[in-house]
């Protein structure tokens, strides 16, 4: 390994986001700049110990996700796509995870405690990289999902004669049954009618099941159509898209805030799905649903600001990547195509993972973790568990972080299967270590996503309040004082209320109402004391 010494080396292994974070940290104001006296500092520090860590609006620097974390051939393709499209590696890494899950979910499950244990995780993965418009999200998704499209076409061509045969057989059988029903109705004798009924029964039993050309993924669909797709395509389906449609459907933006979320939730967990509604039934024993959604940060911020959406648990299932955008600094004169041999290898290996895929879903094969891999996974799980505790680093995103060890096990299994192929017997320590390293890097991205960052004007307002409070050395202030001080920004109380609410969601402030006899209550805003000494 080449010796690593400078920020260029750091960017190569941890991304430019990590470089930005390190320099930003070095440039952070010192304690003396915070205008809190030493005596008061001790007091503020003591009070601060009972507060969780704040999630600052728009101020979390996130590391990029290096493609080196992916298994060999996936890494090569992801790296080539990154070079070709000049996009942040995080985008390609996340879509690669979803593509691998598309090939392997429902076929396999991972059992962290060993194959004989009853705790298993399906291999469905939900990824959500967020990049602004014009960041070439479509190009990345297209390049990485192209082999899936090609596989669907090959299967469609292979099955075309069989589909045609079954279709015509079913059409004939249906017409014949219609005719037999008429005959039965017209039959004069009960004995004749009974004989015809038996023939109808036999015709129905012998009618071949409908065959559909297999589909691996869809781009945009409703929750109801997704249920149907799961039924039609072996209880598994993926959504790979750079459009916000399905995400907005999930958030209930098209249904008055009340979306049918069961299909999504159960598709991630792999629990049985039963729908019995007028005119529609869907019975799926072990649904497997993966997502690879590339959205604009603004869309994410818009949806994430809905407390209801977060409370549904859907947000907690996504692995977020919100890398710094490089739009504006790309080299327009540079054009690197994806090398043919890299593309071919990627397609061949993906098709290898899809080999032997049944049209009708069977029982998933369970693979366990080796003892060494389990030790790595348990260390990581223990580390996360510790940070989930009250006032821990992950308390404010506990819903998301509590699913992270499960996600690490899923990713580890995907990595192992990608590296070793379908003959993999167990998930090894290398794949698990890589999955854990990736999951560690995902934590600041989740903080960013849950901190509702991006191009959200409310974030900007919230950040202005924080800056004012720190500059003025005001850990506690009345809402009216803040509005007066920042009247240029907050011309309406409603705007200020939204910003304060945003800060409250990130544990940056606590709001109290102080009753006033015979007058309106005073709104007191207490800043997280940790902001004044960390």
């Amino acid at each position: 390994m080449t010796e690593r010494t400078d920020f260029n080396d750091m960017a190569a292994v941890a991304g430019v986001g990590a470089v930005a974070a390190a320099i930003s940290q070095a440039m952070a104001p010192s304690k003396s700049d915070l205008r809190i006296s030493t005596k008061r500092d001790a007091e503020v520090r003591r009070i601060g110990e009972s507060w969780p860590d704040p999630i600052m609006p728009g101020q979390v620097a996130v590391p990029d996700l290096p493609v080196d974390l992916l298994p060999g051939w996936v890494r090569d393709m992801a790296g080539a796509v990154v070079d070709s499209t000049q996009t942040p590696p995080a985008m390609a890494v996340m879509i690669c995870l979803s593509v691998l899950a598309t090939c392997l979910h429902r076929q396999y499950e991972v059992a962290p405690w060993g194959e004989d244990d009853d705790y298993t995780e399906p291999l469905s993965i939900w990824t959500l990289p967020a990049l602004p418009s014009g960041a070439r999200k479509t190009a990345v998704i297209n390049a990485l999902s192209e082999p899936l499209v090609h596989w669907e076409k090959l299967e469609r061509d292979r099955l075309r004669p069989e589909i045609a045969r079954v279709k015509s057989a079913r059409a004939v059988a249906k017409k014949r049954i219609e005719k037999l029903i008429k005959d039965a109705v017209a039959a004069e004798k009960d004995e004749d009618r009974e004989n015809i009924r038996k023939v109808i029964e036999r015709e129905e039993n012998e009618m071949p099941s409908e065959i559909l050309a297999p589909r691996l993924f869809t781009g945009d669909c409703t929750a109801e159509r997704l249920q149907a797709l799961l039924v039609e395509h072996g209880e598994r389906m993926s959504v790979l898209s750079d459009e916000a449609g399905i995400f907005l459907i999930m958030a209930g933006l098209y249904s008055g805030g009340i979306a049918s979320l069961d299909v999504f939730l159960q598709g991630h967990a792999g629990t049985a799905l039963r729908v019995d509604r007028a005119g529609r039934t869907a019975h799926v024993d072990k649904p497997a649903l993966s997502f690879g959604l590339a959205l604009q940060p603004g869309v994410l911020a818009e949806v994430a600001s809905s407390r209801r959406f977060r409370d549904s648990g859907l947000m907690a299932r996504f692995l977020f990547a919100i890398p710094p955008s490089n739009v504006g600094s790309r080299d327009v004169r540079r054009r690197w195509s994806i090398p043919r041999h890299v593309r071919d290898e990627y397609e061949a290996r993906l098709h290898g993972l899809l080999k032997g895929r049944d049209l009708i879903a069977g029982k998933p094969r369970v693979i366990g973790l080796t003892a060494e891999a389990r030790a790595v996974w348990l260390d990581f799980s223990a580390e996360i568990e510790k940070d989930l505790a009250p006032r821990g680093k992950l308390e404010s995103i506990a819903d998301w972080a509590s699913k992270l060890p499960g996600a690490a096990a899923r990713i580890a299994a995907l990595f192992e299967l990608a590296e070793s192929g379908q003959e993999a017997n167990a998930v090894g320590a290398i794949a698990t270590s890589q999955a854990v390293a990736l999951c560690r890097l995902l934590i600041p991205h989740a903080h960013t996503a849950f901190g509702l960052l991006g191009a959200d004007p409310i974030d900007a307002d919230a950040a202005a309040i924080v800056r004012w409070s720190i500059d003025q050395g005001r850990p506690t202030f009345k809402k009216s004082e803040c509005q007066k001080a920042l009247e240029g920004r907050f011309r309406s109380v409603a705007k200020l209320d939204k910003a304060i609410e945003r800060l409250e969601q990130g544990d940056v402030v606590k709001v109290e109402k102080l009753p006033n006899a015979g007058a309106r209550a005073t709104t007191l805003v207490r800043m997280n004391p940790k902001l004044f000494f960390e």
Partner: protein, 277 residues
């Protein structure tokens, strides 16, 4: 062993032995010579040798920037008169060296301007830039080598750094380096200062802060001082190399010294996240 032989040994020890030792002149004046191993016609070495008591010499290389002094017997006690003479000679030698250095720098400036004028704009497809995954910012290309200008705080071109496809770096012989840098990006509220070109571009692309490339650790402090003098109100951030495998961590040591000298922030790369490798 004669004093001349002793002096030749000192040159050898400094790695700048004379190509033709017989040409040694001990008249107290400044002489230039071809260093053993340098190409024919080059005069990168220099010395002033005075053999009348108290014997004394100064020598160095315009190519490497070395500057050393020599006395035949460091332990021998000197009279006050000898000490006075030696001080005068050293002062004269310094003046002669400074004058010669000014001539060498002026010559290098002219050559730098000519070569810079002949160089063509560099593209990000250059193998070194590709390997480092960085773009070309204000640099040029000459005979497949990247050419990076070294300018002072006033913007005057003094020297050039050349980076070959394999990453080998050389400077224009005799060119001034101290306090010179290559600047990337528009001036904002923060200026970052780092050692190498690839590091500088990475920092600029990550932060969008204007970045000054000082070319080596020893030049961090002179560049930081030059920028502090030019921009007293700007925040400076020394982005040091973390030479953790090198004894004494020279990158970090020089970074700390530069940061302390001008009251700048110090950022150091961390490779903890790479432990999975």
């Amino acid at each position: 062993m004669s004093l001349q032989d002793d002096f030749q040994l000192a040159l050898q020890a400094a790695g700048i032995a004379m190509h033709r030792p017989d040409d040694l002149v001990s008249d107290g004046g400044l002489h230039r010579y071809r260093v053993e191993g340098d190409k024919a016609g080059s005069l990168n070495g220099w010395y002033l040798l005075e053999l009348t008591a108290p014997a004394h010499a100064a020598f160095g290389s315009w190519k490497t920037g070395q500057s050393c002094t020599w006395r035949p017997d460091q332990r021998a006690a000197m009279s006050d008169a000898e000490r006075e003479i030696l001080a005068q000679r050293r002062e004269a030698a310094r003046a002669a060296r400074d004058a010669e250095q000014a001539r060498v720098h002026a010559s290098a400036r002219d050559r730098a301007a000519k070569l810079w004028g002949r160089a063509k704009p560099a593209f990000s497809s250059h193998p070194y830039l590709v390997r480092k995954a960085v773009s070309a910012f204000g640099i040029r290309c000459l005979r497949e080598q990247l050419v990076i200008p070294l300018r002072d705080a006033e913007g005057n071109l003094h020297s050039l750094q050349f980076i070959a496809c394999d990453g080998r770096k050389t400077f224009l012989t005799g060119g001034r380096k101290k306090g010179c840098y290559h600047a990337i990006g528009a001036l904002g509220r923060v200026v970052c200062i780092c050692e190498g070109y690839a590091t500088g571009v990475t920092i600029y692309e990550a932060t969008r802060h204007a970045t000054a490339i000082a070319f080596d650790a020893a030049n961090l402090e002179p560049v930081a001082r030059a920028l502090r003098a030019k921009f007293p109100d700007l925040a400076l951030c020394i982005c040091a190399d973390n030479d953790q495998a090198t004894p004494g961590n020279p990158g970090l040591t020089a970074g700390r010294r530069a940061a302390a000298a001008v009251g700048a922030a110090l950022a150091v790369p961390s490779f903890d996240m790479a432990s999975h490798d």
